[in-house]
């Protein structure tokens, strides 16, 4: 379906999120949308999919003007959107998730849904158990489910807002294949991302956004440096890696054994030095998250020991881990990281040391302003966190981490950040390492893992690799390990 956006304009208070944006996307195209954090990408997509309304502007589908007020109407017109922060119904089975949003009689036809699901899954090579609970699915599987659901509801325009941030490399390849197949069938795909290399390999054309405006368009062959310049108005390069000093062990893991309903991992041993960065690699759901949560005291290990600063903390509460200097930064920003309904200032008050009984608002606002400047958060002290763009939420989350913690456990530190911010966030994190902090992080971005870690642990099929030296490992080697090739059994 051909999608035309004409003069779409949207203000949030004083923020001009979309400034008279006009673009036309022919049917069968994969349209890439690039732009720094807060550029207005999600806003435009939400307008197209009926989650918010534009102040002015026209949307035309196949040349016909349409009015879209709700997501329901959007899907009725054939527009479906996958959100940056997945909106699904976790305590439900997969089939129920499918039928719940479907139009039709009072009694949903589950058999039909299961059959349709099976057919779609075969076509794209997905393997989701219709009877599984959605909460047991990995982020990648939930995304596949969401795509299937939208297709089942009759979507002919598929919008994906940063779909690759939480999924593994192989799931990403599968996703790209799927999108190419869909486009070949005449479907219009809109793909929002920060990752240049993805947009470059996947998209037929790219639009670049900056501060609410569309500042340029590109067609293959793409020139990466050109795109970066369009996004930021300047060229950007990666920092050089700093070599690691001598080892002073801060965090020790001995014969650790963790398990959940799907996985059992035995005998993990690791010694992390002061100032070191450890990357945890693996397909989503291979146990790296469980391991990280065990290091934070959020999950109890079945056996073995976790030692922080020579103190054995195994079996202790999260509070004692925090006291020992450990902090945990979750990936799901609005579910576990930030508190919707509270302002940035209130977050900083909560995250910082309590001084007395009564809050000094002026001091808190001042500190928040400093952090906003320092971390380039696009927002005001009184902005509620849910009104920040995805990338700005991530910056806020990182800015909230206290300076005195020395073991930082981070899930996907740069998920949803544009390249400039990722580099900048890592420079901040590395600076903390210089001051003696230790970082263990999960990422599905191989480049990030290799570039910023000192050593990498690869999780696959209930096993954990020996720590790899990130300096001497290549992307291909790491990719193979994640896929299970060459893992010692």
């Amino acid at each position: 379906m051909k999608v035309e956006l004409q003069q779409i304009d949207k203000h949030f208070g004083s923020v001009h999120a979309n400034d008279h944006i006009t673009m036309t996307i022919p049917a069968g195209t994969i349209q890439g949308i690039l732009g720094e954090n807060g550029a207005g990408k999600s806003t435009l997509m939400k307008i197209l999919s009926g989650f918010i309304q534009a102040d002015s502007g026209v949307i035309k589908l196949d040349g016909k003007k349409v009015v879209i007020h709700t997501p329901d109407q959007a899907i009725h017109h054939g527009i479906g959107m996958l959100h940056q922060d997945p909106l699904d119904f976790p305590p439900m089975r997969v089939v129920d998730n499918l039928v719940v949003g479907s139009p039709g009689g009072l009694v949903p036809n589950k058999k039909e849904a299961i059959a349709a699901l099976k057919k779609l899954q075969e076509r794209f090579g997905f393997q989701i158990d219709p009877d599984a609970y959605v909460e047991t699915l990995t982020v990648g599987e939930r995304q596949q489910l969401e795509i299937l659901r939208l297709l089942w509801l009759g979507a002919r325009v598929l919008i994906l807002d940063e779909p690759t941030t939480g999924i593994s490399a192989s799931q990403r390849l599968k996703l790209f294949d799927t999108l190419r197949k869909l486009a070949a069938d005449g479907m219009t795909v809109i793909f929002v991302s920060h990752k240049l290399e993805e947009v470059e390999v996947l998209c037929h054309r790219i639009a670049v956004f900056q501060r609410g405006r569309m500042v340029g368009e590109a067609k293959p062959p793409y020139v990466t440096t050109k795109l970066v310049e369009m996004m930021f108005g300047k060229a950007i390069t990666l920092d050089e890696r700093a070599p690691c000093a001598t080892c002073d062990p801060v965090l020790k893991v001995e014969h650790l054994e963790v398990e959940d309903t799907r996985l059992h991992i035995c005998d993990i041993n690791l010694e992390v030095c002061r100032g070191e960065v450890i990357g945890l690699a693996g397909m989503e759901g291979s146990g790296q998250r469980m391991f990280l949560r065990t290091l934070a005291g959020l999950t109890r290990p079945v056996g073995g020991k976790v030692i922080v600063h020579d103190k054995t903390l195994t079996g202790k509460t999260y509070a004692s881990f925090r006291k020992a200097g450990v902090t945990y930064v979750p990936a799901s920003r609005l579910e576990e990281g930030l508190i919707s309904g509270l302002s940035l200032t209130e977050h900083f008050i909560l995250a910082r040391e309590q001084k007395g009984f009564i809050i000094n608002r002026d001091a808190a606002v001042k500190e928040t302003e400093e952090n906003i400047d320092q971390f380039f958060i696009r927002g005001k002290p009184e902005t509620h966190v849910e009104a920040l763009s995805g990338g700005n939420q991530q910056r806020a989350l990182l800015a909230l981490q206290r300076q005195d913690v020395d073991v930082l456990l981070i899930e996907h530190p740069t998920r949803g950040l544009d390249i400039e911010s990722s580099i900048w966030i890592w420079s901040k994190l590395k600076a903390r390492c210089q001051l003696g902090a230790t970082i263990v992080f999960i990422s599905s971005d191989l480049e990030e893992l290799l570039h910023y870690s000192d050593r990498i642990l690869v999780f696959f099929g209930g096993k954990v690799s020996e720590p790899l030296d990130a300096g001497t490992t290549t992307v291909d080697q790491l990719g193979q390990l994640i896929g299970g090739l060459g893992m010692k059994s």
């Binding site: 309304q53 007020h69 925090r322 945990y328 990281g337 930030l338 309904g341 209130e346």
Partner: protein, 347 residues
Amino acid sequence: MPKTSSRWLGLLFQVGAVLLALLFTSIILLLVGAKPFQAYERIIYGAFSDMGHISDVLVVWVPLVLVSAGLLITYSTGLWNIGIEGQIALGAIFTVWAMRLLQDSSIPPVLIILVGFLAGMLGGALWAALAGALRVFGGVNEIFGGLGLNFVSTALTIWLIFGPWKRPGVGSMSGTVPFDTSLWLPMVGGSRLSLWSLGLGILGIVVVYFILQGTYFGLRLKAVGKNPRAAFLMGIPTSSYMMLAFILCGVFAGLAGAVQVTGVYHRLIPSISSGYGFLGMLVAMLVNYQAIGAPFVAFLFAALNIGSIQLPIDLKLDSTLSGVLQGALVLFVLLMDGVRRRVLHKK
């Protein structure tokens, strides 16, 4: 500026909600064959016609505002403390208990009253802690736990009145033997209003306003209420904060119970909470959990309660009409709030 215009819009919707509630109640009045304006006039007359009536309104206002203050704390923490009725009753029971123990001793009456108040706070807090523990440690939803505890508290009250604390001879629904007048809160002139309890009501709502607006404690409660998982990861011990919220709310409910005993009934009666717990929940909902509005809405509700007593006297209408109006107000305000959000969303 969009901000001020949306505030005006909000006000407009609230006024609309009040008008709709009045319309709704009027229709009900017409259906039962009464004249709405006459009824409203009688209610206003019954509430404000003279000092006696006004002081009666304030007598109701005190426990209502105390209960609402407590409920603002649990609401902010994301908890529906339905057990509030039982907490008021337990506050009253503990007050009566302490005062019965001490009434024949040589302790000065002022001290006995003071101990009575402390005991009331303790009683309310304990009962709330029970609901809290069921929720936090037992995983029992506080609505069900509270409902159950309310039944138990009613049974306990009745048992005390007809059992251990019964009047000489035979127990009666009119309650236990009243305390000696020396153990009554001093009252203004010929009214039933005590300046002490009035002061307590004002102090209570001010304290809660201050806790929720200005303190770390209050902000953490809100954080727990809005997103317990994130609050926990930020290092807030969510279970303790939920328990504390229950206990604090229980203290306020217990105070309300103590006021009912020392200032109004001077004994334990079967329905000592007078439904102020549930009414307080309506108040808290109507002010959208903002402490600043609570004293005013509580006053309005108290006036409706007192004013409607005039209805059966003058118009042969049942006084429960005030309940209809109060309920309609809450429903329409919530409804209009939903409509307002949709309208703003559309824009």
